[in-house]
């Protein structure tokens, strides 16, 4: 034993003050930073990068582009963040609980201990967020160009991802403070993840009474925030067009029941602008029955309906040819269609003529396939119409892209961070009650 130990009188020593909470936070923050190297805590960073790569590979083609892709992407990004956050800290306290108990009895403030963890974990979460976004960019996830709060939307989403990761981190920190050992912590962990996954609210339809429970989940808040930032309400729904497009199949036989009378009747409705225009089209004086039949044949050929078989197996072209032959034999072929100034008048006349009306109001069966039907219409135009009409079809207030809405989500996530950190402090204040 060395002789130069300075021994002060006990009475004097009692007047010394020991390090306060801020200084102790610094001491423990330094300790945690060293642990990052020695304890292999750094491994959570490559793990985060790997998870981000796998997820962005799946969502990159549709994220921010379609309604479903945006929701899936938001869900996936939220899950990645929660996963990263939870695994950062689920074991950090419980694995050194007896050590913490010893240090607490030696003067360590629990608040300092938790604050030092908060600081350290915040840096870890920030690094994971940056890595995740970088990997998303590498994997060519197309982020919208302009953000609401910063110049880049990627940065805006980065703030959300960071807050989700940090809130989950604090949740796991609290769990770690609550349980006595790492085995229990890792047993509880899947329940936490499943709870977050199920109550995220975006993917699974939940009973209405679970709404209150959903509000307690980080995933619910995070998913809504990312979806709002991605302007979910104004992205087109892709599933409708995908479902329609799947029908474009030459092997998909189809039998259509056509009633020409009903079809012509629809051409009497002048409330509809295109029909009104059609009805007002003039008929030239020189139009003969023969010429009209020729126009009809070319129209049938143009739409590829020449092989359409009417009931009885007779193709449409043959029906037209029969009519022509009948007209020629009866001497009507060169007769002018007179007395009608417009197409509308002709249609009305045809439908008012009892003999024709009777024939036209019969239902004829037409055997075709879906591919033939698709050929009748312009695919790009149809896609455009479907895409435009599905925008906002799933409109929800929760996904409104507004500064107020997104800031409220950020506030909620920040409240989660503070709440779980406080719970961790309160829980650890009872560490002295642990059984020996």
């Amino acid at each position: 034993m060395s002789e130069n130990t300075v021994r002060k009188s006990p009475a004097r020593r009692l007047h010394f003050s020991h390090r306060g909470r801020i200084a102790q936070t610094g001491i423990y923050f330094g300790k945690l930073c060293r642990m990052f190297i020695y304890q292999s805590d750094w491994k959570v960073l490559p793990m985060a990068a790997l998870i981000a790569a796998v997820v962005s590979m799946v969502v990159r083609n549709t994220f921010f582009l379609t309604m479903e892709g945006t929701l899936k992407g938001a869900f996936a990004l939220t899950c990645v963040s929660i996963w990263n956050g939870c695994f950062n800290s689920i074991q950090v306290i419980c694995r050194e609980r007896p050590i913490l108990k010893r240090e607490h009895r030696s003067g360590l403030h629990i608040t300092s201990y938790v604050f030092s963890h908060m600081l350290y974990q915040a840096l870890l979460c920030l690094a994971q967020t940056l890595l995740t976004l970088y990997i998303c960019r590498l994997m060519k996830v197309r982020f919208p160009s302009e953000g609401m709060f910063t110049r880049w939307m990627m940065l805006d989403i980065g703030v959300t991802v960071f807050l989700i990761t940090f809130a989950s981190d604090m949740l796991a920190l609290w769990i770690s403070a609550l349980v006595r050992n790492t085995t229990t912590a890792m047993t509880v962990m899947p329940f936490i993840l499943i709870f977050q996954l199920v109550f995220s609210g975006g993917i699974f339809k939940m009973p209405s009474w679970t709404k209150d429970v959903s509000r307690l989940s980080i995933s619910n808040c995070g998913l809504k925030c990312i979806a709002a930032q991605a302007d979910y309400n104004n992205t087109p729904m892709s599933s409708v067009w995908t479902a329609i497009k799947r029908l474009d199949n030459p092997n998909k036989d189809l039998t259509l029941n056509i009633n020409p009378g009903k079809l012509l009747s629809t051409l009497q409705d002048e409330e509809i602008e295109p029909i009104r225009q059609l009805r007002q089209m003039p008929i030239t004086d020189k139009l003969t029955v023969n010429a009209a039949l020729t126009e009809l044949e070319s129209a049938v050929n143009a739409i590829g309906a020449e092989h359409f078989e009417l009931s009885g197996g007779m193709p449409l072209t043959e029906v037209l040819t029969s009519i022509r032959l009948y007209a020629v034999s009866e001497g009507y072929a060169d007769r002018r269609i007179a007395g009608f100034d417009t197409v509308g008048e002709l249609i009305d006349y045809v439908l008012s003529f009892p003999y024709l009306s009777e024939k036209l109001n019969k239902t004829y069966k037409v055997d075709t396939n879906m591919h033939e039907i698709f050929k009748l219409v312009d695919e790009n135009r149809l896609k455009e119409i479907v895409t435009d009409s599905t925008k906002g079809i799933n409109y929800s207030k929760a996904y409104i892209k507004s500064e107020k809405n997104i800031l409220s989500y950020w506030e909620n996530l920040a409240l989660f961070v503070i709440g779980f950190a406080l719970l961790a402090i309160i829980t650890l204040e009872f560490i002295d009650k642990d059984k020996r």
Binding site: M1, S2, N4, T5, V6, R7, P10, A11, R13, L14, F16, S17, H18, R19, G20, A23, Q24, I27, G30, K31, R34, M35, Y38, Q39, E96, P98, I99, K101, R102, E103, R105, S106, G107, L108, P207, W209, T210, D432, R436
Partner: protein, 449 residues
């Protein structure tokens, strides 16, 4: 007990027989059986009439009191959820879910804990293991047979634990010394499941500075509880004065005057020795101490405990002895007046353990009080000045059986070796001689005189 009720309930509903026809005889059998069993175990038989409470009492008679708490609570919860279940049609979806999940969980908990208690019963009654199945599926039958038949007698009775207190004199308070440690511990108790349990009682002693004290006692005698009470970590009904300061009254300051080294090496394995000690010094030394003084103190402590050559090594790479030294060094860094060590030599070989004790002796020689618990006292007894002997009395409360110099202890107990002293105060079922009450009484009288 629940499982058989469940089976019968299902059978009754299938066979269209009112459940009550079976429930009443089963309950009567169980009640009568438990009544008789409680009589045998010296438990008031009237408890057999009270559901939930009788499950707890049954577990007490099975020497499974902690399991009995869970058993009775889970049964109470299950019964409550069953009552709610009767009105399930009028409950909301959310309430039905909560009630259903709670019922399933409480049923499973009750099932598992009832098996634990029945196993305890089988041990206490020294019955064959096959009885476990009968207890699980036909508890009324098992209880009635065990209660009525004279073949089934418990090995020990609850009365053994709860005998009337003897009027033993416990000593009186000692006046605090200006220097040194004075302990006047009247009672240290805990309350578990509405029951007060006294862990320590009537320990009055004073230790002069510079003394190295051995704390002896059998397993469960309350050694660690006593040390925790002395250093103020687990407060008791006591007055502990250290060098004129009140440890309880001014705990925030006084805790730096007490160094407590736990049994395990509670040090982070992934940090270096130097950083561990530097952090310990920043935490334990006063804030006014400058960085250079702190570093000097860390270097000094490393020299004292032979840690300088490994200062840059990770703690996990150290040998068992080095880890122990580091653990002690962390507490010693604040230069405490009272140094308490809980089995510092556990896991060390004889030579290393003696070297460590010599270092502790050197610390005591500096005018500090060193209190050590060790389970191999005889190889280092020459290094100690005093010995404290704690023993469990007939109520299993830790009491002071002796405090004084080592030589006087030998004379008092009539034993030369410390391990023989421990054996003399240990209970017969622990392999001891069972003289604890006798020595406690004698020492209390000697102390009073």
């Amino acid at each position: 007990m629940l499982i058989i009720r469940l089976i019968i309930a299902v059978w009754c509903s299938e066979a269209d027989v009112p459940f009550i026809y079976w429930a009443i005889p089963m309950t009567v059998l169980l009640t009568v059986g438990l009544w008789r069993m409680f009589v045998k175990s010296n438990i008031r038989p009237v408890w057999a009439l009270i559901p939930c409470a009788r499950d707890y009492k049954l577990s007490v008679s099975a020497n499974r009191e902690p399991d009995g708490r869970t058993l009775s609570v889970s049964l109470a919860v299950y019964t409550l959820t069953s009552v709610f279940g009767l009105f399930s049609d009028s409950l909301s979806e959310r309430a039905r879910l909560i009630v259903g999940v709670t019922a399933v969980v409480s049923f499973l908990v009750h099932f598992i804990y009832s098996i634990r208690v029945y196993r305890g019963l089988i041990e206490v009654y020294q019955a064959r293991r096959r009885w476990l199945l009968i207890w699980v599926f036909l508890p009324g039958l098992a209880a009635s047979i065990w209660g009525v038949s004279d073949r089934f007698r418990p090995r020990w009775k609850v009365e053994d634990l709860r005998r009337e207190q003897k009027a033993t004199f416990g000593g009186k308070d000692i006046s605090p010394m200006r220097q040194g440690l004075t302990v006047n511990l009247r009672e240290r108790s805990v309350t578990e499941f509405f029951q007060k349990k006294i862990l320590l009682r009537d320990i009055h002693l004073s230790i002069d500075p510079g003394r190295m004290v051995l704390l002896l006692g059998g397993s469960g005698a309350g050694k660690t509880t006593f040390l925790n009470a002395v250093n103020g970590y687990e407060k008791a009904n006591a007055k502990v004065m250290l060098n004129g300061g009140d440890v309880y009254g001014d705990y925030k300051k006084m805790k730096y005057e007490v160094g407590f080294v736990p049994q395990q090496e509670l040090v982070r394995g992934k940090d270096t020795v130097l950083h561990t000690l530097m952090d310990a010094s920043r935490l334990r030394l006063p804030a006014e101490v400058t960085s250079s003084v702190r570093k000097a103190r860390v270097n000094e402590v490393m020299d004292i405990f032979g840690l300088a050559p490994v200062k840059n090594s990770l703690v996990e790479k150290l040998s068992g002895g080095q880890k122990k030294r580091l653990s002690i060094a962390m507490e010693f860094i604040s230069n405490p007046s009272l140094f308490i060590l809980d089995e510092p030599d556990s896991g060390l070989d004889g030579v290393m353990a003696r070297d460590l004790m010599k270092e502790l002796r050197a610390i005591a020689n500096q005018g500090k009080i060193v209190i050590v618990i060790t389970h191999t006292p005889d190889r280092v007894i020459d290094l100690f000045d005093d010995v404290i002997v704690l023993a469990k009395d007939h109520q299993r409360t830790g009491r002071l059986a002796f405090f004084g110099p080592v030589q006087e202890a030998r004379a008092f107990f009539g034993k030369h070796e410390m391990e023989q002293i421990v054996r003399s105060i240990n209970r017969p079922e622990e392999g001891g001689e069972g003289h604890a009450d006798e020595f406690i009484q004698r020492f209390a009288e000697v102390q009073h005189v």
